[in-house]
Each structure stands twice: as structure tokens, then as C-alpha cells.
Symmetry: C2
């Protein structure tokens, strides 16, 4: 099988390395921005050369960005080439079109590497969808924020200090906004919940809260209660509706979520026959992500791949579940929400069980008075 | 696809129920010992009727035992019928022959349900074997013993009390020997390590220690050190050798293993590209196990199944890794091993780091003086 790789960054290099060990596959093109990036004879800067080459059976897109990858993926599918992508942004933005395009052209679109690189999460969702209904997906889908939270708990340092360290060590991007403000998790939740619920979920309907404002002060308040904070993406289906959220969430230290170390990921599903299944592994990194790409390549080669279904019509709905919150805010802001507070300690407090409508109102009031305000929900 | 189910116990009933919801499959026979067991028209007590029926495309064996299931599976394979089995005992006893028989007759042998019912463990091993090397498998493969350990830690009760409760609640068999003495875990470790290492491992080469002798006294000693006990099956490959063991093992309370609740299972692999991947889910029960069976059925139907490879020649070898032990024994026995003890507290002690040869000698000396002696290893 002749393969073209688009992109030769960390993941691209890993994929080329793994594929070269496997004599079922031959990498015949590597698309780069500049020939200086790659001294292999397969390198080219001309995507048209790849798209027009009838020898190419499969295109692996590992570039990042949205519009150019979208062009490359859709053109490849239209020309009857299988596509594997690790790019969650393009999948989130063009989910339905790309799957329909693959189906129309009788080729496959592999997306295992787009969510939780080192965890065979997409394959598990697709397989389990064959034998029952999945009504919940949840996880620690972002390694950068878990790295920060795990070290904040271990070392009692402030967010910014550890973020800087994570950037220095390559665990965080120089612009970490997508990770720490939740966009990366939201995209992965959109893809996971769409596959799990056999529909196309709307990312804009999900609730989300940035992790950026968490302080050492908060971590210490959690620990006094024996709790640990994790940045959790979660989506539920109930009847014809679904809800989703990405929020700082508190767990008992004896819960699995609390034990997820450094930049590892967790992915959880709840299934009508299986009950709860949890997978833990590396979420990113050269070889784990490259391995996920090559898993797709091998499955497509062996005709063992499956495509997500989109035959369920579900509507987005705000969550109806009551919850308890940890909140930390200035005294003025705190005074505004005192009726909901069950326990107050310095600048922070723990609410009683409140409705989602009350939660929304509480957050709105707080934001109005203290933009530095932070909350976490209690599981 | 026409399916025959052999056995109509807890798992058999679950499988028939799940298959009846799926119009790709038709259950045309159900083998029972006595027609009183099942009032469905598909019931029969005559296995020959099933074996000779050319309409049967697939046989699902869910009976338990070894010799009769072996006869049914091998005859079905010889007659060109696919087989799916949840029976770890028959797989362990006849692993190579059954796989070779399936290959020779160009049919499939599915075994997902034989290890960790609710966890897609076998599929994960087979998939990950396609893209790299697995050099370690480890897990909590037995739900009964985890149920007992988890409750001993939570409630500080003695082994026998909880075992009785587990039997009453259906979490333990009336004769629990295979579970609590390790045979069930050893069989699952043999199957898991054989698939992972692409060989046929020898169960008799694995070290094992019964969990039967653990006491409330031991649990309290572990907890004073912040440790929790789990009953761990583990196998490693190094070069051309492998080692395996099933032993009570101690973990920090912040380790994932320590958080595995009640009768849940954990399965872990270490992979050349992925690193460590851990899966947590229900290990047994009607629907989780039935779902695993139906996963195999659906994969075989879609030609997406894979068979284990056996092309690696590896030799069994005792472990070479040093370890530390917790030991509890009578004073006489303890006095015999004092040179190895680093810390003594009442009837129990913690050894310094010792070699495997020293461990073997220590256990032999202790057993000689106190058959009630118990040890656990420290991870």
C-alpha cells in the first residue's frame, strides 16, 4: 500500500519511522512546507503532485490547522484515496462533510489519533457501538492541563510557575490557550460524543470553564477536604437529548481520576451491556500518537476499519443535574451568593446542592463582580 | 448468520438475549444438559445435531469444564464452523491445538470473553501487536479476590467473613478455590501473555501464591504504611525469555491499582510505541461477559477479527528482579529469616530488597515452620 504523509513534524516523523519498519506499506511522498525540513527523497512541497498521483492509496494528514488540511483531506477522499488524520480541529469543524465524503467515495477516514493519542479510544467507541448503546463519555482528554494540575497538587506551586516549566519541557505550547481554556478538550469531546451517540454534536452547546484561574489557594482548599482537581470533559445522552461540558472537577483521592499522573489521559464510556469502561494511557507524544495513526493504517489495510454512524437525531440541551460547587472570589462577590453557600472558609466556599439554573446565575453574578473568580464542580 | 449456543447459564442467557436484538444473527440451537433448563424451541440436548447441521455458521461455547468443551470446539472447527468461547480453562489447556485447528480450517476462534469479560482486552492485545511489541501484561484478572480485598480494606473484616458474604451475593462460587488460590488468574495470565508475546506460555512456570491466608492483621499493617493490597497477575518478556506470577501485591493508595473497586478488573500492557495502557472495567457478570462474546461474533461477521500469532520461541525463566516483601508468620518462623528483615512489627515484618533466589529460600523456610505464613510483594 502506497502512503503519502502530509506533515513531517513530531507525529509525522514518528509515523514515517514506524511505517518504514512495516513492509506492507511504502511511504512515497512526504509533504513539507520547506524542503529544508526533511532530507528524504520522498519530500515535496507540492500537494498537487500527491493528490494527482494515482499510485497513492492512502493519505495521512498530520499538519494542524483547519482550512488547508480540509482541502487536502476532502480532495484525497474525492479521488478515492483513504485518509487517516490526527487533526482534531479539522475533524471537529467538518465532521459530517468529511465522513459523508468518505462514504460517498467508498474509502475510509481514520481518526484514532485525533483524541487521546496513546489510547485506542475511537476504536473502542466504534466497536462497542456495534453491540449496545453508549450513553456517557467522559475523560481527561488534555495532557497539558493534567500535567499542570498533577504538579500543582504534588508541589503546591502556582499555575503560572508550572505552566512555564511545562513550556520549557515541551509539555505545553508557547501559546497554551487552546489547552488551558478548554478548546482542545471541547473538540475532543465533540468528536468522542458524536461517535458514541451516533450523531453530530454541537461543540458550542457545551458548557466550559477555563482552567487558567486556578490558584495554589484552591488546591490547598481541595486537599483539606481530601479532594483532587482534574479538568474533565463529559457528555451524556438522555432520550433524544445530549449535554456536554468541560470544567474543573473534584474527585476523592481514591477515585481513578485522581490517580491520573502528569500528562496522561483517561477516557471513560458507559455502555448498556458493559457498564463503565475506563482507559488510561499517554495522550500525546511522538510514538503514542504515531502508533494511533499506524493503528488506523493497519486496520484500513486489513479492511477491519469502521466508520462512525450519524443516524441519530439528538438535540443539545443544558444539563438538568443538580451539582455542588467550590467557588473562590473576592469578598464582595462572595457576599452576593451567600444564600447558596453551605460552608465558607476565607475567600473560598462550598455551595449546597444547586440546580443548573442556579449555577448559571451564580456564575454570571460572580463574573460581574470578580473576573478572577474560579469554580470547580464536585462529582 | 446462524449461530448455535452451547450452554444456557448466566452468560448463555445474556448472549441469546443480546443476539435476539440483532437481526444480523439467528440463534438456531441452544445446547442444554436438560430440556427443563430452557423452554425455547431452539433447545436441544444432542450436540451431534448441532455439529452435523450445515446451517450452523458459528458455535458459541459457554459451558465451563474442559474435555467436553474441547470436543465441541475442535469438532466445530474441523467442520468449518467459526467458534467463539468464553471458556478460559479449555483455551489454556488446548491453546496451540485450537488456534492451529482454526487456521487449518480457515475459520475463526474468538476468545475476548475468556479474560476480563467487560474489558476489550484480547482485541486490544491483538490490535497493538500489529504496530509494535508488547513486553509486559499485568492486571487484576479475578473479580472475586478483588471484591474480597477491597472490602477487607474498607471494612477491616477478616477474609472468611467477606468470602461468605461474597458467596451469598453471587460474587464468589460455592467452591472458590480456583479464584482465591490463583488458578483462575493463572489461566487468564497464560492466555494474555501468549497473545501478547506471540507464543504459547507455560502456566506451570509461573510463580503463584494463594490469597487464602491473608488476614485483617495484614490489611492493618499495609494501611499503616499507606499501602493497599491487590491480587496481581503479571508477565514480562525480556529477550527470548518470559516470566510470570500471580501474587498478593502492595501499591500506594495513589496508584491506579489501589483504586480498583469491588469486583472490577484492571488490565495493563506495556508497548514499544504506546508506553503503558491500562483498561478498567467489569470482569464478569451476565451482560459484560455476554457483550464480549457478541463483540467477537460481530467482528467475525464483519471479517474484522484477528487470530493470535504463535511465531515467537521464548523460554520460561524465573524472574531476576529484586523485590521487597511483607511477611507475617509465627515468632519461630520469623526468627529464621531475621537477617532479611529490615523492620519488624509484632508478627509481621518488611524485608530489605532481596534477590529472587533469596525470596524462594525465605518462602521455603517459612512454609516449613508455619503453613499459615503469608507474604505480599511491594511494587
Amino acid at each position: 500500500m502506497n502512503v503519502a504523509c502530509l506533515g513531517y513534524g513530531v507525529v509525522g516523523q514518528g509515523v514515517v519511522e514506524l511505517l518504514k519498519k512495516d513492509d506492507r506499506f511504502k511511504v512515497i511522498w512526504i509533504l513539507v512546507k520547506d524542503l529544508k525540513e526533511c532530507d528524504l527523497p520522498e519530500a515535496t512541497t507540492d500537494v498537487q503532485q500527491i493528490l494527482k498521483d494515482n499510485e497513492v492509496d492512502m493519505v495521512i494528514e498530520m499538519m494542524g490547522g483547519i482550512e488547508f488540511p480540509y482541502f487536502c483531506i476532502s480532495e484525497s477522499l474525492k479521488r478515492g484515496k483513504h485518509v487517516v488524520t490526527s487533526n482534531k480541529a479539522v475533524l471537529q469543524a467538518h465532521y459530517r462533510e468529511l465522513i459523508e465524503l468518505a462514504e460517498k467515495n467508498h474509502v475510509s477516514l481514520g481518526m484514532e489519533a485525533s483524541v487521546c493519542g496513546g489510547i485506542p479510544w475511537i476504536t473502542t467507541l466504534l466497536n462497542q457501538n456495534q453491540t449496545g448503546e453508549i450513553d456517557r463519555v467522559e475523560g481527561i482528554f488534555n495532557g497539558t492541563t493534567n500535567y499542570i494540575l498533577d504538579r500543582m497538587h504534588a508541589e503546591h506551586l502556582d499555575f503560572d510557575e508550572i505552566l512555564k516549566d511545562a513550556q520549557r519541557l515541551g509539555y505545553a505550547e508557547s501559546d497554551p490557550s487552546d489547552d488551558i481554556d478548554g478548546k482542545d478538550s471541547l473538540r475532543k469531546l465533540m468528536i468522542s460524543s458524536s461517535i458514541a451517540f451516533k450523531t453530530v454534536t454541537d461543540m458550542d452547546s457545551f458548557t466550559s470553564e477555563s482552567l487558567r484561574k486556578i490558584k495554589k489557594y484552591d488546591i490547598e482548599a481541595f486537599e483539606r477536604k481530601g479532594l483532587r482537581c482534574r479538568y474533565i470533559a463529559s457528555a451524556q445522552k438522555e432520550g433524544d437529548c445530549y449535554t456536554g461540558s468541560v470544567e474543573p472537577t473534584l474527585f476523592k483521592s481514591t477515585d481513578v481520576q485522581a490517580t491520573i499522573k502528569l500528562n496522561n489521559n483517561l477516557a471513560l464510556l458507559n455502555h448498556s451491556a458493559l457498564g463503565t469502561l475506563q482507559l488510561i494511557g499517554q495522550g500525546a507524544g511522538r510514538y503514542p500518537t504515531a502508533n494511533a495513526v499506524v493503528q488506523d493504517v493497519v486496520q484500513i489495510y486489513g479492511h477491519r476499519d469502521m466508520m462512525p454512524q450519524m443516524n441519530q437525531v439528538l438535540s443539545a440541551q443544558p444539563s438538568m443535574q443538580n451539582c455542588r460547587l467550590y467557588v473562590r472570589a473576592s469578598n464582595d462577590a462572595m457576599n452576593e451568593i451567600l444564600p447558596w453557600i453551605e460552608e465558607k472558609e476565607g475567600l473560598s466556599g462550598w455551595t449546597k446542592s444547586i440546580t443548573q439554573q442556579e449555577k448559571k446565575e451564580l456564575i454570571a453574578r460572580m463574573m460581574n463582580l470578580d473576573s478572577d473568580f474560579f469554580y470547580a464542580i464536585i462529582k
